[in-house]
Amino acid sequence: MSYPATMQDSLNLCVATRERRMTETFPRATADAKETLLKGFHPDYRAETFAALHVGPNAGDRTPRELAQLLEADSALPEFPGPRSSVPGLSLDKPDYDCDVLIIGGGGAGCSAAIMADTAGARVMIATKLRLGDANTMMAQGGIQAADKDVDSPAIHYLDVMGGGHFANTPDLVEALVADAPEVIGWLEDLGAMFDKNPDGSMKTIHGGGTSRRRMHTARDYTGAEIMRTLRDEVRSRSDIMLLEFSPAVELLTDTKGAVTGAVLQNLNLNRYSVVRAKVVIIATGGSGRLHYQGFPTSNHYGATGDGLVLAYRAGAHLAFIDTMQYHPTGAAFPQQILGLLVTEKVRSIGAQLVNSEGNQFIFPLETRDVVASAIIRECQGGRCVTTPTAVQGVWLDTPMIEIRRGAGTVKRELPAMVRQFGRHGIDIAKEPMLVYPTLHYQNGGVEITADCATNVPDLLVAGEASGGVHGRNRLMGNSLLDVVVFGRRAGVAAAKLAKERTGDLELGLSHVERWRKELAAKGLGSDIKSPLLLPDYTRKS
């Protein structure tokens, strides 16, 4: 018996109602019902948890307080009242590294960009905070979308993306996403990524929340890991790509016209700064789940602290959709050791229902994530939930149904990561349901980009989760892995082209930081908080 006695009554009810529920299909919500649910229960609508920005290109816009604090914080670099070169340990006149394209971040977007820019003949450098491949891409489980079946088309994919994002998405970006998708699947396969296939070679594809066609391509429930390790190995195959690990960027460098010309890196092993001169910089730093908005646990990587947003904002980049975050409906709620870790949507795609403490379904399992998350929060606020011994609330995700629907052994074959994750704590998900609650999963917005990943700051490109616009106000499952590869590739191509056009000397300066400090002071915001954060601090404060 793996669940504690206090949870048994409800667990028994989940088991007892299973046979009845097997034949029940919960109706899809109408547009109005979804709207009501979101406004009533989605965390994005908790106005008191947001703050308005005072300075920078988005002054007046709302964003979660935790992000606002970092966006409006001081640079982590020492004060440099005199000439630029007086910053201790920093010599802007003699850069430590020189390249055409500097890519900040070594996840799915960064590696895709590096491969394409290298192919185009650019001298590429990747600077990443932890190891190459330490990224949310590695943790993505459920799949990657692409309209490559005959019953599907990029235009149908387009409509699903727009609907999922509440029609707020930037059309040019959505067009790029869906039009490049089949090519991206083919490209990944050419690089050696293995997708789940039928014996005739056709892709095994399933639904995700909000899809109207089965276009989710999978690699068991290690889809992101498979893509990430393939891209990483390809980057390592290319000896011309310079790689610096444990070296996050802590500030961009700009010329007097405001164009980006490089970055200051901080070696985390030695706590030393280094200076990179680059004709073009790509920010591919991912999301910010480790800021734990509204106190939510997160499914995100340790390094997801929103650094790229901070750097770009300080250099004058406009951000988009920073008032919306994605709460994945199914984070683990029990046991405590794995609280907030992702339980892939694929679990619902292949047949598990969400069940409240009374043994009833309460939402169609494949509504979009924002809607399902809101429904779970509604059930818990209404008391129709299970409470764990550590006072965490959750609802059941009835995984044994998968075995009944698709045959014994399906769970182990299709969800090996989930089987391990829960098995390590004594829960056999083929036989027992999981307890779940929404977890902070994704940054819907980010730096505003064009379809070629350009920003309003010259020579600064952004790709992947650090960018904003393609997903509107809510991202669909399987469109993030797609996003990082589509826009990573586009950024790499565009950066190589820009670098070729960029002739003449590059001027490395920090005048944007000086200006930023003056703006903060003018608003009385000379805070003690420095950003980027780089890493969260989970040490116990005694």
Binding site: G133, D134, M138, M139, A147, D148, K149, D150, S153, P154, A155, Y158, L159, M162, G163, F167, P171, A179, P182, E183, G186, E189, D190, L191, G192, M194, F195, K197, D200, G201, S202, M203, I206, S212, R214, R220, Y222, A225, R229, T230, D233, E234, S237, R238, S299, H301, Y302, Q336, Q337, I338, L341, L342, P389, P416, A417, R420, Q421, R424, T539, R540
Partner: protein, 228 residues
């Protein structure tokens, strides 16, 4: 938490008293370590937090991912956040896509003497010896399948008395399999050609021009392909 039980653990020899509900990773942080190495996804997917430990009265060396394993009383532990592992020099696109190329690039795999220490040390419970054997006999489909859930933590490499870097050979096997040996997807090839020929351009351009209300209407009325 109502009933917190504290246990002693020894992190690189130093005693710390921590709640027994914590994972090893959380226990490091509870003890005061702000980690840079030995921590990554915190969810069992990245292999950054490979850990070795022993328990009192048991000579066996044990293996774990720090983020996925609860502390036990009096465990003596250390993380192995990095282990030297050679990677052969190749470009996948330059290879012919034959099974024997894995052995050409990692010939030392033939030195494996089948002790199975690798399998015993895998925190993912992968049959490491099984995939090494599959590579040696030229069955990359089997090697790819058996090794698929590898997170490349390197514990098997650290323990191998024949000094083999198995996880890199497995990765190369999967890449060769995925590119060259897996059955080809005809519908994907067809769609790539259609897109190159510009087949969907007009339809997407039209969709982009539609008003929000038009899109909403089409979205609400769209037909949904049944599940399997």
């Amino acid at each position: 938490m109502a009933d917190t039980h504290l246990v002693d653990i020894y992190i690189t020899g130093e005693r710390h008293r921590v709640p027994d509900s914590l994972t090893i990773l959380q226990a490091y942080e509870y003890a005061g370590y702000k980690l840079v190495r030995g921590v990554g996804c915190r969810g069992g997917f990245c292999g950054a937090c490979a850990t070795v430990y022993r328990l009192p009265g048991d000579y066996h060396l044990k293996f774990a991912l720090a983020c996925q394993t609860k502390v036990e009383p009096n465990m003596q532990l250390a993380m192995v956040p990095f282990y030297p592992a050679n990677r052969s020099t190749y470009r996948l696109s330059d290879l012919k896509g034959e099974a024997k190329e894995v052995l050409d690039l990692y010939p030392e795999l033939l030195r494996c003497y089948g002790c199975n220490t690798c399998t015993k040390s895998c925190p993912q419970d992968i049959d490491v010896l099984g995939y090494v054997s599959a590579i040696v006999r030229g069955d990359l489909a089997a090697a790819a399948d058996i090794s698929f859930d590898c997170i490349m933590c390197g514990l098997c490499v650290s323990r191998c008395p024949a000094e083999l870097v198995k996880h890199n050979a497995a990765l190369l096997s999967r890449r060769i399999y995925g590119r060259n040996l897996a059955p080809k997807s005809e519908h994907l090839a067809r769609r790539r050609e259609e897109i190159k020929a510009g087949k969907f351009k007009a339809e997407l351009a039209a969709a982009k021009k539609q008003s929000k209300d038009e899109l909403k209407k089409r979205y609400a009325e769209r037909d949904i392909e049944p599940g399997e």
